[in-house]
């Protein structure tokens, strides 16, 4: 049944997140970007909202609520409306925890999920992206070679969120043993920070979302036991894991695009030229209306991908549409938003140049968030 109506609970969560993002993220965003650091206490403050643990099973200390990619999609859009870098930093442990919850063996759930159900922020990272312009999740260069009772991981990862403080990394690698290619060959391994052969780089310096700490990983013959392979012999459902990441990205881009629009609209009404507000000129007004049209389009594509994930249906096509479309339109909206502000769009006093950098950054990243 086609429905665009969030449940009452989802609407309550959505409203609360929007308020939180406006009151907490938005005022902190500029300084985080300028200083390339997260505000003190922010991670713990958001952790108290329970965004990660609410949907983990009660048996491990979680809230026991149903795993809902739709709810998480709504949350990410609202948080990114406040600031995408802070939205990703504060929710990234979910990418690890949800994967363990969704694909892990009972032993793995028991070993790792309780860590995400405590009072304090539990840093953990998903490591997907590799340093190559032809990076493609379906042809990972990081390999997992079977070796008596375990695997040997080799390769390099980049843009690993929270990698500066993560206790564990969920490293995605191509299983050299796998007969099939593509999704079927993708495995995930839980690698502790102190694993022998694992090198963690200094903080990376990126174009946008500079407040978001990311690092690179060097895996030189990192030996891990069989038990660290997520899902055991069954492995993971890489289609769903990647679709979750893409849907999250699309939700973040939708929130970011809305931020641009909601900033550009009052600016254009306030700024006068030739005797009237620039918003009264169609050249400007039509850029704003396009932002409205496209944020709707982005959101519905994102919701559709989330709904398919939630219904346990094949999510690949819908999530690629959502991510690809949001990447293209999100960039255009940020670009137009900057243009509406003119010279002021170029000045760091306004957030639009920050969003312009964030849009370009966000639209090429993967594996930085999950629903």
């Amino acid at each position: 049944m086609i429905s665009f109506g969030p449940t009452e609970e989802q609407q309550v969560v959505r409203d609360a997140m929007r308020e939180f993002a406006e009151q907490v993220f938005r005022p902190a965003a500029r300084e985080a970007d300028e200083t390339s650091s997260l505000p003190d206490g922010l991670l713990d403050q958001v952790w108290e909202l329970g965004l990660t643990n609410t949907q983990l099973p009660e048996a491990f200390g979680g809230g026991g609520e149903v795993r809902s990619p739709i709810t998480n999609t709504l949350i990410l859009e609202e948080l990114a409306f406040g600031d995408p870098a802070l939205a990703i930093a504060t929710t990234h442990p979910s990418a690890f925890a949800f994967a363990v919850n969704d694909y892990g063996t009972d032993e793995q759930k028991e070993a790792y999920l309780p860590r995400f159900c405590g009072d304090k922020f539990a840093a953990a990272s998903l490591a997907l992206i590799e340093p190559s312009p032809t990076f493609d999740p379906l042809t990972l260069q990081t390999t997992a070679e079977p070796k008596d009772g375990g695997f040997v991981l080799s390769g390099r990862k980049r843009f690993v969120v929270l990698g500066d403080r993560a206790e564990h990394f969920l490293v995605l690698a191509r299983n050299a043993q796998s007969a099939e290619g593509g999704f079927g060959a993708i495995d995930a391994f839980i690698v502790p920070r102190d694993a022998s052969g694992l090198g963690v780089s200094e903080l990376e310096k990126n174009l946008g979302m500079k407040g978001l700490p990311t690092v690179g990983l060097e895996l030189e013959q990192v030996e891990v036991p069989d038990e660290s392979r997520l899902g055991g012999k069954a492995g993971i459902d890489a289609r769903r894991l990647l679709a979750s990441s893409r849907t999250a990205n699309a939700a973040l881009l939708t929130g970011l695009s809305r931020a641009v629009r909601e900033y550009a609209v009052p600016y254009a009404k306030d700024r006068h030229a030739f005797g009237e507000a620039i918003a009264q000129k169609q050249a400007i007004a039509f850029m704003l209306s396009n932002m409205q049209i496209e944020t709707h389009s982005m959101r519905w594509l994102t919701w559709k991908a989330a709904a398919l994930l939630e219904a346990l249906e094949e999510p690949t096509r819908a999530s690629i549409f959502a991510q690809d479309y949001a990447a293209e339109q999100g960039m255009k909206i940020a670009d137009d938003g900057l243009q509406v502000l003119g010279g002021h769009g170029f000045i760091r006093e306004h957030p639009v140049e920050m969003w312009y950098r964030a849009a370009r950054t966000l639209s090429v990243l993967e594996g930085i968030a999950a629903v």
């Binding site: 049944m1 086609i2 169609q282 039509f286 293209e328």
Partner: protein, 393 residues
């Protein structure tokens, strides 16, 4: 809850409509090339098909809403052909949407079974209906409205049984003076004077109407409210409410055809050995596959904006903004998609051997009628800026 899956009942209906549409499509080329002919009331094959209404009775509250499934049915029909149907639709004209939106219950019952066209545009006015010159004057002696004026670009105007006509009670009142009237064919003084020759949608006739002292019963004013609302009181918005369903519906016409174009291009490209998988990054895809994927996403986005506008209508919520969004998005998307499909097909795309070139011509009207893309953008911009017509022209 948010859901984009179709129920078994939804699937059953849409599969059925597509099976009919495929039959109708066989006649698409003929009526495109023979513009003077009208497609028949019912195709020969129609008698073997039960008709979609026979399936509608099984629907429950768990199935997609009435307006949403209506949009999807419309897309599926147009996926077959814009004009040729298994059987001539009763009660599916644009005028019917107007009747549903602003007629009284009595009026809806009385005329709901007729095929109704909608006459707004005049030789001197299109997107700005406040300039409507056709007049309606009440003759109190006979309790009749007397209509005078000329209407052009009336879609399905030749074949319709009647028309919902926009006429003004008082030209000096601007938009507030405009009312909708129902005029049945064969009413003395109502002439269908001309049939246009067009780029596309040729089998769908486009008429010119002339009204010369055409008298209709007083009860034919849709909604029944005869007084002219004060300027700025929102009276015109009642008239415009019609568009909240016709705008997404019009987008749905185009999106049915652009879906046909995508399906055809996929079949041809795959037949020629081009792989059209869904690649997470552009590196894994050929240029053709990447372009195709983007256009499919665009199609999906536009379809969802249509469903959203319809969903709000089903919920009884206002959807003025969303109707315009769906029309603007649909209008631009179908242009890009069909133009792009011809690009992907290369020279084979322009051959009249295939229907792709026809879809390319047919969809082009989508961004023009029922309010151009530019008018939709004006409405959207005014809404989000909180501007009226004088503040954003």
């Amino acid at each position: 809850m948010i859901d984009f899956t179709l129920t078994d009942n939804d699937h059953k209906i849409l599969d059925y409509v597509r099976s009919e549409a495929l039959v109708a499509r066989k006649y698409a080329r003929h009526y495109d090339e023979n513009e003077a002919e009208f497609p028949p009331e019912a195709l020969e094959e129609a008698k073997d098909f039960p008709g979609v209404w026979s399936l509608m009775g099984d629907r429950t509250a768990d199935d997609s809403g009435q307006s949403v499934i209506g949009m999807l049915i419309t897309m599926a029909e147009n996926w077959g052909d814009y004009s040729v149907r298994m059987r001539k639709g009763r009660g599916v004209g644009l005028g019917n949407a107007a009747l549903a939106a602003s007629g009284t219950e009595e009026q809806r019952t009385k005329w709901g079974g007729l095929l109704l066209s909608m006459a707004i545009t005049e030789p001197g006015c299109g997107s700005d209906p406040s300039m409507v010159q056709t007049t309606a004057v009440l003759d109190e002696a006979t309790d009749e409205w007397v209509l005078n004026g000329e209407k052009i670009f009336v879609t399905t105007g030749c074949r319709s049984d009647g028309v919902v006509l926009w006429a003004t009670l008082d030209r000096s009142a601007g938009r507030a003076g405009i009312k909708s009237f129902l005029v049945e064919k064969e009413t003395p003084g109502f002439d269908v004077s001309h049939k246009e020759k067009k780029l596309g949608i040729r089998a769908d006739d486009t008429a010119t109407y002339v009204f010369r002292d055409c008298r209709i019963p007083r009860a034919n004013l849709l909604g029944g409210k005869e007084e002219i609302p004060k300027a700025g009181s929102g009276g015109f918005r009642g008239v415009m409410k019609t568009f909240n369903m016709t705008r997404p519906l019009t987008a749905a016409f185009g999106l049915g055809m652009s879906q046909a174009a995508l399906d055809f291009a996929r079949e041809q490209l795959e037949g020629a050995g081009v792989e059209l998988g869904y690649g997470p990054t552009v590196h894994g895809l050929s240029a053709a596959a990447a372009k195709f994927q983007r256009r499919e996403a665009l199609q999906e986005a536009a379809v969802l904006t249509v469903c959203h506008a319809a969903y709000l209508s089903d919920q009884g919520e206002p959807n003025n903004l969303e109707a315009s969004i769906s029309k603007a998005k649909g209008g631009s998307a179908v242009r890009e998609i069909t133009q792009g499909c011809i690009e992907l097909m290369g020279p084979m795309g322009i051959s009249r051997e295939h229907l792709l070139e026809k879809w390319f011509r047919d969809v082009r009207i989508t961004d023009i009628y029922e309010g151009t893309g530019q008018i939709q953008n004006l409405i959207i911009a005014r809404t989000i800026l909180g501007y009226d017509r004088t503040q954003l022209k």
